[in-house]
């Protein structure tokens, strides 16, 4: 089977500044792929290269087995893209813009368009300059979902959407997935990525620092624990693999590295466990950890900010 997206050794420089450094990325058919990272990490740049708007400095970028730069027009027949801040033509109405977008791809579905306008609760008769940010975003989303694409690319698609509309968006993504289509979702809303994506890449300063399924990533990291014991626990912050200890109302919450879990539980159980809650790390935990690492490396390494 051909991989839907195949990125190998992608590097992008803007003058001397290296925005992307040796990126690898593979997206399979029918997969929802999450793409997260701090501001300025290179998410949008990667997406613009996938869309053939920026030219890779080096490396190979293939979508549907075709070159993202050279065969852009051909590839885009099967792609729907939603930018994070949809800038629309101020003197056209929302309805007009949706029609234009559908026509540009050439395979829009009129019924689906009307149904989506209904679902996203959009007034299509207003001029784009009069729409709020969220409403402009809806226009881009409606045009994307109403088109019959194979691959959907979203760059922070829900910025500005209210929680209700965010849910509508998530439903639409799942529907698309059920039809066997693929999605690339770049987002700062980690709960959304957590809910939707099977596979996730974390990018920082132009480098992919972690890729895998959420459970694979969790495996490598920490578990959150909350315990209450009969006998008071001695201070154990210094124990190997224990992090972020917090005492609150007689309960202790902390995180344990996966490989130390066994020994820590044994240690605690000697004090008589009254209550034990464990939860897997959230994506936010994973993300923050990577981020903190980066900061400490930067400050210890003496490179400064």
């Amino acid at each position: 089977m051909v991989n839907l997206v195949e990125v190998k050794g992608l590097t992008k420089k803007f003058g001397k500044f290296t925005a992307l450094n040796n990126i690898q990325m593979t997206i399979n058919e029918g997969e929802i792929y999450g793409f997260i990272g701090p501001n300025g990490a290179g998410k949008s740049t990667t997406i613009r290269i996938l869309l053939g708007m920026l030219k890779a400095t080096s490396g190979e970028v293939k979508i549907f087995g075709k070159d993202a730069w050279k065969d852009a027009v051909e590839i885009h027949k099967q792609i729907a893209y939603v930018p994070g801040d949809a800038n629309l033509w101020p003197n056209l109405t929302g309805g007009e813009v949706i029609d234009i977008f559908l026509k540009m791809r050439g395979n829009g579905n009129k019924n689906r368009r009307d149904e989506l306008i209904e679902r996203f609760n959009l007034d299509p008769s207003k001029k784009c300059r009069a729409y709020s940010k969220g409403n402009r975003q809806k226009i881009a989303l409606i045009s994307a979902f109403a088109s019959e694409a194979q691959f959907y690319i979203f760059d922070e698609p829900t910025s500005g959407l209210d929680p209700l509309m965010e849910r509508t968006f998530q439903q639409c993504v799942l529907e698309v997935k059920n039809e066997g289509k693929s999605v690339l979702l770049s987002s700062h809303i980690l709960s959304e990525v957590e809910k939707l994506c099977e596979k996730i890449s974390i990018i920082r300063e132009g480098k992919i620092i972690e890729t895998g399924t959420l459970s694979e990533m969790r495996h490598l990291t920490r578990t959150n624990l909350i315990v209450k014991t009969i006998k008071p626990l001695p201070p154990f912050e210094t124990k190997q693999g224990v992090h972020n200890v917090n005492y609150e109302n007689g309960e202790i919450s902390f995180q344990v590295d996966s490989e130390e879990l066994d020994s820590i539980i044994k240690f605690i159980s000697e004090f008589g466990i009254q209550k034990l809650e464990s939860s897997p790390p959230t994506l936010e935990d994973l993300f923050l950890r990577h981020y903190e690492n980066a900061k400490s490396i930067a400050s210890n390494g003496g490179k400064g900010q």
Partner: protein, 536 residues
């Protein structure tokens, strides 16, 4: 006035000046430099009293009056060369300063509001009127500098008959003329809710002011006095030095500004006072093509410019009739004319007019290509390029539109001129002659398109270079002869190499060459655009 309304104005003045500093310096150098250069060259042009009388007669013919204002009594052209200079340069210098002011005010009011800059500023401890007030101060300040630089500079040239008072007055005409149109723009910025609309209204006002003055100067002085440009040409500068036009200009600016500030203080941010219409819920088929959409985005501009150019053409056409009579009654001129050859004075005038009007038509044509740059900056080309539309298709549509526009503008120019001439002249010139002398400039306009596409295709950051080249072409056409530019330098302007019809012969080789250049420029430009990164 409540002082909290204008809190922070001083800081904002600095910010606005900083944002526009290069552009303002370019304008200042251009306006002051050309004015002084031309003024100093006049001394050597018309030496004898005979030459000066001939000049006076040419300048007083109705077409010239329509184009440049009423001028002076014939005798007064003998008193000082300042009068010749003022009659030829004053009005168009005022217009240049007005354009500068319109652009400055337009972009530091509505553009900054549209892009959200004013929103950020207003969230700071800054008064509601501060931004507009700062913008007014800046435009006032810039016009004051122009007044002083030109006023002092002219005096320093030590031209006979130009006193300090008169040179300052000359500068003040430019400065106040610019300030009025800056103020009017500030007012329109409250009515329209876009920067395009604001600048459109302001340029519309400028064109109307020019036309009213033209018609008034030729026929009815009362009418001319309605127009601020009518005041500008009535100071009798270098002779009587009347100051009333300056005072009344400042007064009018003040009144307009008070209205603007008032409207600004009561309106919502991002809104205007002109009504908005309710739109369609679905798109009509024609705008669903790439070309159709691109046309739709620029439709208003195209219609407005077509009307403006038609009106200018008609205004000059109408004068042709008067001109015929003027020359028929004037033996001296007839004597002069017989030396020129077989071509009537109307035909010669036509030649000159087409030279200027083709340059004016180039503005909207260049703007069409540059619109693609603004679309890219506003992240709107990504809508094309994330769908299956190629770069050639998009740039091609813009180029095609610009080419179609170039034909439209020259055609409506010819049509307006010919229709008006038809009604006014006893022996009207043929439509064919008019159309030919207009359309011959098409290759020149296409070279302008080509250069713009070329720059945009490779280095979109520096597209404003095209305006420098444009300004150069304008200077060559307007005062190139007077400044004694060498031929090679004049020929750098593509408008200069085009054969002037009627009068010169159609030089096919030159035309083909110019056409070939435009095609080559386009090709290279398209090539560059295909290869470069798209920002958004």
């Amino acid at each position: 006035m409540n002082l909290t309304l204008i809190k922070g104005t001083g800081q904002l003045v600095k910010i606005i000046i900083r944002q526009h500093r290069f552009q303002l310096i370019a304008w200042l150098i251009g306006i002051v430099g050309v004015s002084l250069a031309v003024a100093s060259s006049y001394q050597s042009i018309y030496q004898t009293a005979n030459d000066k009388t001939a000049f006076a007669l040419t300048m007083q013919n109705p077409a010239m009056v329509a184009m440049l204002g009423p001028g002076y009594d014939a005798k007064e052209y003998l008193v000082t060369v300042g009068t010749q200079f003022a009659h030829e340069m004053l009005l168009f210098s005022v217009i240049a300063v007005a354009i500068m002011s319109i652009l400055l005010v337009g972009s530091s009011t509505r553009t900054d509001e549209e892009t959200g800059r004013i929103e950020v500023i207003r969230s700071l401890p800054v008064g509601r009127l501060s931004y507009l007030a700062a913008c007014i101060i800046v435009v006032g300040f810039v016009n004051l500098i122009i007044t002083l630089l030109i006023g002092v500079g002219l005096r320093l040239l030590n031209i006979e008959g130009i006193t300090f008072e008169s040179s300052i007055l000359y500068g003040a005409i430019l400065g106040t003329g610019g300030f009025i149109f800056g103020s009017i723009t500030a007012f329109f910025a409250q009515l329209s809710d876009t920067s395009r609309g604001t600048k459109g209204l302001a340029f519309g006002a400028l064109i109307i002011a020019y036309l009213i003055r033209a018609v008034g100067d030729v026929g009815n002085e009362q009418l001319a006095l309605i127009s601020p440009l009518g005041w500008s040409v009535r100071t009798d500068v270098f002779i009587e030095n009347y100051w009333w036009p300056i005072n009344i200009s400042i007064l009018l600016s003040g009144v307009v500004l008070i209205f603007a500030l008032y409207l600004n203080s009561i309106r919502d941010i991002d809104s205007g006072f002109l009504p908005k219409r309710k739109g369609k819920t679905s798109a009509s088929p024609y705008i669903m093509t790439t070309f159709g959409l691109i046309y739709l985005i620029q439709r208003t501009k195209i219609v407005a410019w077509s009307i403006g150019i038609f009106a200018l053409g008609a205004a000059f056409g109408a004068v042709l009739g008067d001109m015929e009579k003027y020359f028929a009654d004037n033996e001296f001129v007839q004597m002069m004319l017989s030396q020129v050859g077989d071509f009537s004075i109307t035909e010669q005038f036509l030649t000159m007019l087409m030279g200027i009007m083709s340059l004016i038509s180039a503005i909207p044509v260049i703007m069409t290509i540059l619109k693609l740059k603004s679309e890219e900056i506003h992240n709107r080309t990504e809508h094309f390029y994330s769908r299956s539309i190629s770069r050639n298709q998009v740039l091609g549509s813009y180029t095609l539109l610009a080419i179609v526009e170039s034909i439209i503008y020259l055609m409506v120019l010819a049509l307006g001129l010919w229709l008006a001439a038809l009604t006014m002249m006893d022996d009207p010139i043929s439509f064919g002659t008019v159309v030919q002398s207009a359309l011959i400039y098409l290759p020149a306009l296409w070279v302008m398109i080509g250069i713009t596409v070329l720059i945009f295709g490779f280095v979109p950051k520096i597209t404003s270079v095209i305006w420098l080249y444009y300004a150069f072409c304008y200077v060559v056409a307007y005062v190139g002869g007077m400044l004694k530019f060498p031929d090679w330098m004049k020929n750098v302007s593509v408008f200069e190499v085009i054969p002037k019809l009627p009068g010169e012969e159609i030089n096919v080789i030159v035309l083909v060459l110019v056409l070939a250049i435009s095609i080559v420029l386009l090709f290279i430009g398209f090539f560059g655009y295909k290869k470069r990164d798209i920002v958004g």
